[in-house]
Amino acid sequence: GQQVMQIPQYQHVQEGEDFTTYCNSSTTLSNIQWYKQRPGGHPVFLIQLVKSGEVKKQKRLTFQFGEAKKNSSLHITATQTTDVGTYFCAGWHNYGQNFVFGPGTRLSVLP
């Protein structure tokens, strides 16, 4: 079936370092969404990318959607302790007509 993978599974960084998580789908995606889940919380929508090659920025966060619409990345510049949490990508698959979440990347930021 359709799968969405994320790497790395865990990432520990020192505050101020950069962080990147990668999302890869086995099939083409209509769109990709990113969510953040703080420890003990629920997923909260961050952004959606729709176009091939699209890049969007939210302050220190940069999101990219691959040209083939099968992969995406989230890059955080100069991490802060408030960035701690699990970042999920999720995509709507064209042909399977279903919405699938990746397993998430858990980010720890050491002060």
């Binding site: 079936g1 994320q6 599974q9 209509s30 769109n31 969404q33 969510y35 919380g41 629920h42 997923p43 909260v44 929508f45 959606q48 729709v50 999920f88 999720a90 709507w92 279903n98 919405f99 699938v100 979440f101 990746g102 397993p103 998430g104």
Partner: protein
């Protein structure tokens, strides 16, 4: 502000019991979802509903059923709870998934089956 509420934050049930998890949204959303979240596996879709009385199976529907009698309410039912259904259950809603609308999640119910 969209609000999605779930009936319980924590629930402990015995094996074989029938369990009801309730979810209510207040934004007149068409779509509602039930996920379970387990460490290392992310969010896995159990069922979703795109209209009242309509339901579609997700990736892991076995052992679960759902009910949507009113637009704002979506219930998840474990007919006979088993220990492997111990998990965090998350409900979500969205206006129109096909248009790529974001999903709004409830706080989750941590279910333990003993």
């Amino acid at each position: 502000d969209v609000k999605v509420t779930q009936s319980s934050r924590y629930l402990v049930k015995r094996t074989g019991e029938k369990v009801f998890l309730e979810c209510v949204q207040d934004m007149d959303h068409e779509n509602m979802f039930w996920y379970r979240q387990d460490p290392g596996l992310g969010l896995r879709l159990i069922y979703f509903s795109y209209d009242v009385k309509m339901k579609e199976k997700g990736d892991i529907p076995e052992g679960y059923s759902v009910s949507r009698e009113k637009k704002e309410r979506f219930s998840l039912i474990l007919e006979s709870a088993s220990t492997n259904q111990t998990s965090m259950y998350l409900c979500a809603s969205s206006p129109f998934l096909q248009e790529g609308q974001e999903q709004y999640f409830g706080p989750g119910t941590r279910l333990t089956v003993t």
